[in-house]
Amino acid sequence: MNKKGRFGIYGGQYITETLMNTLGELETAYEEAMKDPVFSGELARLLAEYANRPSLLYYAEKMTKDLGGAKVYLKREDLNHTGAHKINNVLGQALLAKRMGKTRLIAETGAGQHGVATATAAALLGLDCDVYMGRLDTERQALNVYRMELLGARVHPVDSGTGTLKDAVNEAMREWSSRCSDTHYCLGSVMGPHPFPTIVRDFQAVISKEAREQILRLEGKLPRAVLACVGGGSNAIGMFYHFIPDSEVMLIGCEAAGYGVDTDRTAATMATGSLGIFHGMKSIFCQNEEGQIAPVYSISAGLDYPGIGPEHAWLGSTGRASYVPVTDEEAVSAFEYLARTEGIICAIESAHALAHALKIVPKMDREDSVIICLSGRGDKDVAAIARYRGREIHE
């Protein structure tokens, strides 16, 4: 990475002048915090005592036998407090915000997981909290809206644009440019202007730090592949990060293809997008030929973002990581498979990574292992999956 937060040609700070000094202050505060043992000690304590880290690396024995290939390990981020990997980043950023003297957090949310995590950290640390959520998503995830309100946050439905995650990001950015002196924007993924992709990556890297130690202890060698789902890409970068120098470990990001990459109902950015500049970063985006950002679709509200974090774009361009599309149908089947086989109901997002594993694991050597990041739990998705299968259940 060179200056101004670049990953190769990707990244940067394409943001309004009003936010430039705020981003500079954030970068400085972050660098100081990371050198301060008091900060890292407090974060480590919260991760262990509040968020339930380290998360388990679970050997999925039945699944392994059933697939007849490499040994399957699941990194159980679904067992974290609030039920997903999002809390790792949020606790870090909320502590940082407090250290900077901020009294209020704002956040965007798609499915509601990041909003719930932010509202949780705000409640714990005594910060005010406003969450921006696309109108359509507030309707699809009404339970999470109420959850955030229970935690003391205010949820603002966003009507502009497509009323989904990208519009929630737009609105959170607008709000931040209106009020930044007392407010920290707790961005939920490895996207946006520098320093966010680095900050969020560092806070999520705990996933691979633990997983690498755990697999070496259990297997005595590195896995053949690690897999994670990718929207903006925060759990994936967390799952990949400490394996990046291990060139023998394949890094596989699984994107939401929706109805398929040859349809316009998809969110598979790496498969269907092109280079662009949006939401503060140069990266790959789903867009038309004139650079208008495209509406995207996935059954998973957490993956239907029209871009991908700049570090993923870079890992993809160098060939260090590969990115594969997974359709709604494949993800739903994998979701059902894991429930039946291992008794685990995972998030529909995570089921995208699982679905690709179901394709490649049987062809792999039994001496090898793979790790799949189960980024979240699936309670929030049960009603939607039922409806997908034709059962009219509503929350």
């Binding site: 394409y14 309004t16 002048e17 430039m20 607008r174 009020r179 092109s274 004139e290």
Partner: protein
């Protein structure tokens, strides 16, 4: 002297913003020409973007309407071309977001970003380019083309810019777009004129030559006059877009009257540059 500097020469400038394609391209051409006849000193033509993060609801909705009605970057160039055919003199700026500029290919294979957009600007006599999501630090990649094609890349300064103001002012081209207050575009009822005045003093200390026009939130003649008194001109967007939206295709006369009133207001401001 560039056409942009001309706009500020020996007078306070009034700068209206009009979204291309709202409600349609032909109307935009008429509105721009009406604004010019009414005394506008420079006109910003907005190229609509799907996700305009610096805009308040009024311009967001205008962008959405224009895109739904089929406006494109190429279409905005056609608007500019039609304006130029009638009025070769009026200084024109495009205001848009970086991605449409970055992605525009024209008739090229798209392997060199920015050049097709800027060469088209040059051909049509577009004098300046305003891109809210392109801060000073990221201008490097587009500057070779704005310079090659003689288009002024306008820098913005905002109430949070502080020590950045000097750096921005030193290399500023055309004029400096002074953002009046925190937040996004859209009508405001009050301003901190002293803070705006301080920003402008800082700019002038560093670069006495560069004109400063204030935008974001201005809608009334009184506000425009006060802004012009502390700066070199006032920029108005949302108030005009609202006017256009309420009159539709027939907004030409309303635009003419509004711009005439605003131009008269800035002319009343004291303290011309020379």
């Amino acid at each position: 002297m560039s056409k942009v500097k001309n706009a500020f020469a020996k007078k306070k400038a009034f700068i209206p913003f009009i979204t291309a394609g709202d409600p349609d391209a032909a109307s935009t051409v008429r509105f721009v020409l009406a604004a010019a006849r009414a005394g506008a000193d420079l006109i910003e033509i907005g190229i609509p973007f799907s996700d305009p993060t610096a805009e308040g609801p009024v311009i967001q909705e205008a962008d959405t309407r224009a895109l739904s009605a089929g406006m494109t970057v190429r279409g905005a160039f056609e608007v500019a071309e039609a304006v130029r055919a009638e009025n070769p003199e009026i200084p024109l700026a495009f205001m848009t977001y970086l991605n449409p500029v970055f992605k525009y290919r024209g008739d090229t294979d798209g392997s060199i970003p920015y050049e097709p957009f800027l060469s088209e600007c040059s051909r049509l006599g577009i004098d300046a380019l305003i891109i809210p999501d392109l801060p000073f630090e990221e201008q490097e990649e587009i500057l070779p083309y704005t310079e090659k094609y003689g288009v002024d890349l306008v820098s913005m300064v905002s109430p949070t810019s502080d020590e950045r103001i000097r750096r921005i002012a030193e290399s500023a081209k055309g004029f400096i777009y002074v953002v009046s207050s925190m937040g996004v575009t859209g009508v405001r009822s009050s301003f901190q004129y002293e803070a705006i005045s301080r920003m402008i003093s800082l700019i002038r200390e560093t670069n006495p030559e560069i004109p400063c026009a204030v935008g974001f939130g201005i809608s009334t003649p009184e506000q425009a006059e006060k802004m012009a008194a502390v700066s070199d001109g006032a920029i108005v967007g949302s108030a005009i877009i609202r006017l256009i939206h309420s009159h539709g295709e027939d907004a030409e006369q309303a635009v003419f009257e509004y711009v005439s009133g605003m131009k008269a207001a800035v002319m009343r401001a004291e303290g011309s540059r020379e």
